[in-house]
């Protein structure tokens, strides 16, 4: 044991504590009774662990419905984005035509328009088209936001698959379409997973557009529902923590299981730029 190693491990402990403890505290608080939150200084471990807060959130709030809405919007967004991203990514990887690089950088340029900058115009368009309070408008806006990165990501995966592989399949009797679906797409699956995860995180967490477009409680997505929930049950920390925990657990599990794909997807836009 030398000093350098000890110092490193000390840094790890500080980092892990700082990043993880707020999440752990929220999960612990969700099992507390309502009266326990008035104890000062607050308890760390619940004295009388109870599922009361979860019962309240699951059976007498709109959170489960809003959870489902977010899932629906996210899955539809993933389907649209990964389809568009794969199609365009494949074309950009294989074809060479004048203006290709211009189009590619044009795509990246859209990332410079912040979500906030377009929010007013998008709201006003949806308002005039009578598309407020529909999930379709969320799917379209989220897909448009994520598609450019998805295209870049898929392009880089398709470029790693040699065209000779497709030609060999065609020599062996595949149609061009079969060569694509049976040879290329399975090989590009990691790229699709990375794209899907990136889109999922973005769509699942998005707040501003959803806040603007959806005003009906039963149609709200989880973040907007949770925001209203926090306002409604002010200071009822076990209940707020229980609702937050329901949103944290699936995301954290997914992240821990598929961390490598997550990192590839979430950094793609920035690294390429």
């Amino acid at each position: 044991m030398n000093w350098k190693r000890l110092g490193l491990i000390l840094v790890y402990i500080v980092v892990i504590f700082a990043m993880v403890s707020p999440i752990v505290m929220t999960i612990l608080t969700s099992f507390k009774t309502q009266s326990e939150i008035y104890i000062f200084p607050p308890t760390i471990i619940p004295r009388n662990p109870t599922l009361e807060a979860y019962k309240n959130v699951i059976f007498s709030s709109s959170i489960p419905k809003q959870f489902y809405n977010s899932l629906k919007v996210s899955v539809l967004t993933i389907a649209l984005t990964v389809t568009l991203g794969s199609l365009a990514g494949y074309a950009f990887a294989r074809a060479s035509f004048p203006g290709k690089n211009f189009l590619l950088f044009f795509l990246l340029g859209t990332q410079m328009i912040p979500g906030l900058g377009n929010a007013i115009a998008l709201y006003y368009m949806a308002f005039k088209l009578g598309m407020l309070n529909t999930h379709l408008v969320l799917v379209l806006v989220y897909s448009a936001a994520s598609t450019p990165i998805s295209v870049w990501l898929m392009k880089s995966y398709f470029e790693q698959i040699p065209p000779e592989l497709e030609q060999a399949a065609q020599v062996d009797g595949c149609t061009p379409y079969q060569a694509l679906t049976r040879i290329v797409l399975p090989l590009a699956r990691p790229g699709m997973v990375a794209s899907a995860l990136m889109v999922f995180v973005a769509a699942w967490n998005e707040f501003l557009i959803s806040l603007l477009m959806i005003t009906r409680t039963a149609l709200k997505t989880f973040p907007v529902g949770l925001y209203a929930f926090i306002g409604q049950f002010q200071m009822d920390w076990p209940r707020i923590s229980a609702a937050a925990t329901l949103g944290v657990v699936p995301l954290v599990l997914l992240f821990l299981l598929l961390q490598r794909h997550f990192v590839a997807g979430l950094t793609a836009g920035a690294v390429k730029a």
Binding site: L116, Y124, F222, V263, V271
Partner: protein, 294 residues
Amino acid sequence: MERKSGSLKQGWPYILMILPTFLLLGLVTFYPALYNIWLSFRNESLRTTVSSFVGLANYRRVLSDPFFWGALGRTVIYMIASLVLRVVLGLALALVLNIPQRGRSVARTAILLPWVLSEIIVTAMWLWILDHRTGLLNGLLATVKLGPYGWLVYPGMAMGTIVMVSLWKNLAFSFLLLFAALQQIPLDLYDSGKIDGCSSGGLIRYITLPLIRPTVTIVTIMVSISAFGQFSLVYSLTGGGPLRSTELVGLYMYQQAFNFLDIGYGAAIAMVIFLINIALSLVYYYALRSESLY
């Protein structure tokens, strides 16, 4: 290419494959961007259905609006604080976690974890921790006879608190990009540096830093732009308060457009923010590029 057989040889299937993407972006990204410009020249409002062209009136109003300038000043403070903390801490952690040692992957995962959470979940977590009466932080400080502090309720403190919470959530981004850049540096560069008599501080100064400069530029641009796009965290954590002390430009734009229903004015603020973003990107790009690499 001429060896390729089948219909994919011609250009048109490729065009058909690219078309849907540009159709979607045209409708949902470019058209709204242009529409926003058009709105910014009109007195469009959700209060009335009549509206007309007003020229540069909205822009003149932005430039003479003391609350906009206040929000802009706070955004610059938030941006500089975030930049320094995220770049310095991100780089320090990337350098430390680049040293091979058991346990570093756990630390790396821990840094990435808050990044996948939505701002509203982050708010739900920190509201209790930071609550000035029953919160965990003041509780812990009380056991060592400190506080209580009004993390989110003292005007002088709220901005610092917002910077720290957003650091907690977003540190992963700068860390990850800088970490990836460090891993791209060939190790034999360090070996030759050592042979030439460099100390480990010298290795960082003369090998690491020049080589990761492009990444530092990207991180700087992205963090700066994100400061001007910051909305969800301040909206949910403080709502811009207390006494406007955390009212950033993004939130101010939202309030003008949707609380005061002044769409045209909000659109003009959005345009000003957009122009600032472009200016910032250009400044960083040229400032950090001018000193050439080897």
